[in-house]
C-alpha cells in the first residue's frame, strides 16, 4: 500500500483568496492512498520545506503531491526537498492550483471544487509514479566556438584562459569579423584595430585555442557534454606551415588589383592570391578558387606567377578540402550579422550613384588601411566632398523591411560625422536625417551632444528619395522641427542600413536545432534571465547572431556565454533528466517512424533486434515519438498512457 502526503500551499493569498485551502486539505486527507494532508502559507519557503521533510519522516511517506503554483516555478525545488526527506524525487507530483485555478477563477466555491478535482487526479498519478534515477554522462572539457568576430574571439579567450581547450571555427580566411573593418569605435574613438588585433594575436598564440580558419561546421551530433562536430576545412591552396606571409604571391598574381576586395566593401581591389587585410590572423595568404585563372581555367599564362614567385614553395594547387572531427562538451554560436542590401530601399538609389554608400563603406574610406589611405574622397571623382549627408534607419524600424532597430546606426553616424569634421575641416557641410536618435549607452549621450556642437545639420525626418543629378545628389526633406521642406544638394550620401540575420541562419539553425525569433535571429532561452542560453542544452549564443548589438554589448555577452559554457565544462559528469522516452521492446515493430520524426536525432533503429532505440543523452522528452508511435511501443517515463488516463478518469 502506497503512502502519499498532500501539501497545499496558500501562496500568500494568491491561492488562498480564491480556494478554500482548509476544505481542500481536509478533502485531500480522505483520498485513497493519502495518509496525511497539510497546508502552509508558503510551501516553497524554508519553513515549508522543513514541514514537508518532517512529515515525510513522521508518516513514512513514499510519494508526495504538492498543490501549489505551476511546475515550471517550483517542481525542481520540491523534487529536491522530497529527495532530502527520503522520497525519490520523481515520485513528486505538482498539482497546479494557482495558474490553472485560483488565478483563473473568481468564484471561490467553484474554484475550490475544481482544486479538489485537480488534487484528486494528481494523487492518482502519484500512486503510479515510478522511482527514477538520473543517468550520468561524462563531459568533454572542450568547447567549439563558431564565428571569429569579436564575440567569438572574446568567448574563446575567456574559455581558453579558464583552462579549457577551444576550437574556434571561422568561415573567412581571417578572424576579426566586422570589427576589423571599422576605423574608430564610439564613443571613445578608440582605434578599432588597435584594440582588436592584440586579441586576435592572443587567439593565434594561445596554447588552448585551435584556430580553424577558412572552415565551416558541416554537422553536429550528440548532446550537452558530448558533441561530435564535423568541420570542413576549405582549401587555401597555400601550405600554411610554409607560408611566411611575405606577399610575393599577391604581388605576382596576374589578377592583382582586379578583384573587388570584400574586406574593403568593394571599395578597393585585391588579386586572386591575397590576404584580406594586413593584420589578418592567421597571417597566411589564400588563393581565391572562384577567381584564380589557374584554378578556374586550368591555365595562367605559361605558368602561375604566384607559384613561381613563392620562394618557400608554399603554393599547392592540388590542395583538397578536408573534413576534420572534434569532440566538445559545449558550443558557442557567434556567427554575427549581415548588413542589409540598401537596394531593397530602392528610393535611396544605392545602385544609381557611386557616391551613395553605406556606413561600412564609409568606414573603409575613413580607415587609414582602406582603399584611399584614410582620405575622404568621392568615389565618383576622387575629389574631397563639400557636403556629406547621412540617412539613418535605411530598412530599420520599417514594417516592409526589418522591423527592429539596428542599435548601432545612430552612434555610427555620430562617430562618422565627428571623424568627417575632423578630417574635412570646418567648411564641409555635414547633414544627418534621423527620426529618433538613440544614444543609450555609457558616454553615448555626451558624444551626441559633442557632435551637435560641431555644426552638424540635424534634420528630423527622412527624405522620400535621393535623386542623382549629373555631378551631385539632391534630397528633399521635410524637417519636422521647423515644419519646413528643405532641398539639400550634396556630394555624398551615406546610408545607414539595417542589421540582418546571416543569410544562412535558417540552414544553420537546422544544423544545431536552434530556434529563431520572429526577426530571424537566434532566440535566447529567456530574454532577461537566460540571455545567452538556447533551448538546446549545451549550446549558447553570443553577439549579433542573437540580435543587433554594439561592440560593448557583444563583448559582455561573449563573456557571459563563456561563463555559462564553463559551468558545464568544469563538471566531470552531468546528470541527465530521466523523464525521457523509452521503448517497450516486446511491442516495437521497428517501423522507424520515431526515427524520422525525432527532431533531436535521439532515435536510432537497431537493425539486429529490429526495434527502435532511444539515446538517453540526446532525448529531451518532447513526446513527439510517443504521439507518433502506431503500436504504443514508445513510452514516456512517468507520463505513461495508463498514468495519464487515470488522471483523466479522476477529473471526469
Amino acid at each position: 500500500m502506497r503512502r502519499i502526503g498532500v501539501f497545499v500551499c496558500h501562496c500568500g493569498i494568491n491561492i488562498a483568496q480564491n480556494v478554500d485551502v482548509k476544505a481542500l486539505t481536509d478533502y485531500a486527507s480522505q483520498l485513497n492512498g493519502v495518509v496525511v494532508a497539510k497546508e502552509y502559507k508558503y510551501m516553497c519557503s524554508d519553513v515549508g520545506a522543513s514541514l514537508i521533510k518532517n512529515t515525510i519522516k513522521e508518516f513514512k511517506l513514499d510519494g508526495v503531491v504538492i498543490a501549489s503554483c505551476s511546475p515550471r516555478m517550483h517542481e525542481h525545488t520540491f523534487r529536491r526537498v522530497a529527495n532530502d526527506g527520503g522520497v525519490n524525487p520523481y515520485r513528486v507530483e505538482i498539482s497546479n492550483i494557482r495558474e490553472q485555478c485560483s488565478w483563473a477563477h473568481s468564484n471561490k466555491e467553484q474554484a475550490t471544487e475544481k482544486a479538489k478535482y485537480l488534487v484528486r487526479s494528481a494523487v492518482s498519478k502519484a500512486l503510479s509514479l515510478e522511482p527514477l534515477k538520473p543517468s550520468t554522462l561524462k563531459v568533454i572539457p572542450e568547447a567549439l566556438v563558431i564565428g571569429g568576430g569579436i564575440a567569438g574571439i572574446q568567448t574563446s579567450l575567456d574559455l581558453a584562459n579558464d583552462g579549457f581547450k577551444v576550437h574556434l571555427v571561422e568561415r573567412d580566411p581571417s578572424i576579426g569579423g566586422h570589427m576589423a573593418q571599422l576605423d574608430k569605435t564610439f564613443p571613445t574613438l578608440d582605434c578599432s584595430s588597435c584594440i582588436l588585433t592584440p586579441k586576435m594575436m592572443e587567439v593565434a598564440n594561445h596554447d588552448n585555442i585551435e584556430l580553424l580558419s577558412y572552415s565551416e561546421v558541416t554537422s553536429i551530433e550528440g548532446s550537452i557534454g558530448n558533441y561530435t562536430v564535423k568541420i570542413r576545412k576549405k582549401p587555401r591552396y597555400v601550405d600554411v606551415d610554409k607560408c611566411t606571409g611575405c606577399g610575393d604571391c599577391a604581388s605576382a598574381c596576374r589578377l592583382k588589383d582586379r578583384i573587388l576586395s570584400e574586406f574593403n566593401q568593394g571599395m578597393g581591389k585585391r588579386g586572386a592570391a591575397y590576404m584580406p587585410f594586413p593584420q589578418a590572423v592567421p597571417l597566411k595568404y589564400v588563393i581565391d578558387d572562384k577567381k584564380c585563372l589557374f584554378l578556374t581555367k586550368g591555365k595562367c599564362g605559361d605558368e602561375p606567377l604566384c607559384k613561381k614567385a613563392c620562394a618557400q614553395g608554399a603554393i599547392i594547387f592540388d590542395q583538397k578540402e578536408e573534413i576534420v572531427e572534434r569532440k566538445v562538451g559545449a558550443i558557442i554560436v557567434a556567427t554575427g550579422y549581415d548588413v542589409m542590401d540598401p537596394n531593397s530601399v530602392y528610393e535611396y538609389g544605392y545602385d544609381q550613384s557611386p557616391d551613395i554608400i553605406t556606413t561600412l563603406e564609409m568606414e573603409r574610406l575613413i580607415s587609414s588601411s582602406g582603399p584611399t589611405k584614410g582620405d575622404i574622397l568621392r568615389p565618383s571623382n576622387q575629389q574631397k566632398p563639400k557636403s556629406v549627408t547621412f540617412i539613418l534607419c535605411v530598412g530599420s524600424r520599417d514594417e516592409t523591411q526589418c522591423t527592429w532597430c539596428c542599435r548601432i546606426g545612430c552612434m555610427t553616424t555620430l562617430k562618422q560625422a565627428y571623424l568627417l569634421r575632423e578630417k574635412l575641416g570646418e567648411d564641409v557641410e555635414i547633414n544627418v536625417c534621423y527620426n529618433d536618435l538613440r544614444s543609450f549607452g555609457k558616454g553615448y549621450e555626451e558624444f551626441y551632444r559633442t557632435v551637435r556642437g560641431l555644426q552638424t545639420n540635424i534634420f528630423r525626418g527622412f527624405p522620400s528619395e535621393v535623386r542623382t543629378i549629373k555631378d551631385y545628389l539632391k534630397i528633399d526633406i521635410f524637417d519636422t522641427t521647423t515644419s519646413k521642406l528643405f532641398e539639400i544638394k550634396t556630394d555624398m550620401v551615406v546610408l545607414v542600413p539595417a542589421m540582418m540575420p546571416r543569410a544562412d541562419t535558417i540552414e544553420f539553425s537546422r544544423l544545431l536545432h536552434l530556434t529563431l525569433s520572429g526577426d530571424g535571429f537566434f532566440l535566447e532561452a529567456h530574454p532577461k534571465l537566460r540571455p545567452v542560453d538556447t533551448f538546446v542544452n549545451g549550446i549558447f549564443i553570443a553577439g549579433c547572431c542573437q540580435g543587433p548589438k554594439d561592440i560593448q554589448d557583444t563583448v559582455s555577452q561573449a563573456g557571459a556565454a563563456a561563463s555559462r559554457a564553463a559551468t558545464i565544462l568544469s563538471q566531470d559528469e552531468l546528470e541527465i533528466d530521466p523523464l525521457i522516452a523509452m521503448v517497450d521492446e516486446d511491442v516495437c515493430t521497428g517501423c522507424g517512424i520515431c526515427v524520422e520524426i525525432c527532431p533531436y536525432e535521439a532515435r536510432t533503429l537497431n537493425e539486429r533486434k529490429r526495434i527502435a532505440e532511444v539515446n538517453d543523452a540526446l532525448c529531451v522528452g518532447c513526446g513527439g515519438c510517443i504521439a507518433a508511435c502506431p503500436s504504443n511501443a514508445s513510452i514516456h517515463k512517468n507520463f505513461t498512457k495508463k498514468q495519464l488516463l487515470n488522471m483523466v478518469d479522476d477529473i471526469m
Binding site: 536618435l437 551632444r449 556642437g453 522641427t481 521647423t482 532641398e487
Partner: protein, 175 residues
C-alpha cells in the same frame, strides 16, 4: 553644397547665425546647436498659450540659419521674458536670449516696433519701469498695496535726464 528652404526659397544666413550663437556664448548660455527639440520651453511658455510663441521652433529655425524669417516675424515680440525657458532648458540653451537678440536685430534693421513696445519704452525712459506697480491682487481677491506687504516704494532714477542719456548710449553701442 547647399540647403534651401523650399517654402520660402530662403537660404541659411550663416554669418547671422554665428553672430547670434556668439552672443549666447558671451552670455554663458549654450549655442542653439545643442537644442534637441524636446520643446520643454514651449510646454511652459507663458506667451504660447495666448500668443502662439513656440520657443523651440525659434531655436529650430536658428539652427537652420533662417534668421531673416525670424527677424521679420511678429511672434518674436510676444515673449514676456519670464526666463522660464532659460531656467528649465535641459541643454542650457536660452530661447529668451535668442529672442532678445532677434528683437535687437529687428530694431537695428529699422523694422517697425509693435505699438505697445513703444509705450513700454516711453515708460522706461520716463520712470525706469515698464509699469509703475503700486498694488497687487491676492489669490483670495484681496487688493494689497506695497506698504501693506512691507515693501519699499519701487526705486526710480533720481536724475531722469541722465538716465535717459545712459539708456540711449546702451542702445547705440549695442551692449
Amino acid at each position: 553644397m547647399s540647403i534651401i528652404d523650399l517654402t520660402s526659397m530662403g537660404e541659411p544666413q550663416s554669418d547671422l547665425k554665428k553672430e547670434l550663437n556668439d552672443r549666447l556664448t558671451k552670455l554663458q548660455d549654450e549655442i542653439s546647436e545643442y537644442c534637441f527639440q524636446c520643446a520643454k520651453c514651449t510646454s511652459g511658455c507663458e506667451a504660447h498659450k495666448l500668443l502662439e510663441l513656440e520657443p523651440h521652433k525659434i531655436v529650430a529655425l536658428l539652427k537652420r540659419g533662417l534668421i531673416n524669417e525670424l527677424v521679420n516675424s511678429d511672434v518674436i515680440w510676444t515673449c514676456m521674458t519670464c526666463q522660464k525657458c532659460r531656467e528649465r532648458c535641459p541643454q542650457r540653451v536660452a530661447p529668451v536670449e535668442i529672442l532678445f537678440a532677434l528683437k535687437n536685430m529687428a530694431v537695428a534693421s529699422g523694422k517697425q516696433i509693435p505699438g505697445k513696445y513703444t509705450g513700454m519704452l516711453q515708460s522706461i525712459l520716463s520712470m525706469g519701469l515698464i509699469q509703475d506697480i503700486q498694488q497687487t491682487t491676492t489669490r483670495s481677491n484681496k487688493i494689497l498695496k506695497r506698504d501693506e506687504l512691507g515693501l519699499p516704494p519701487p526705486s526710480k532714477p533720481t536724475d531722469v535726464a541722465k538716465f535717459q542719456a545712459g539708456i540711449m548710449k546702451i542702445a547705440i553701442e549695442k551692449v
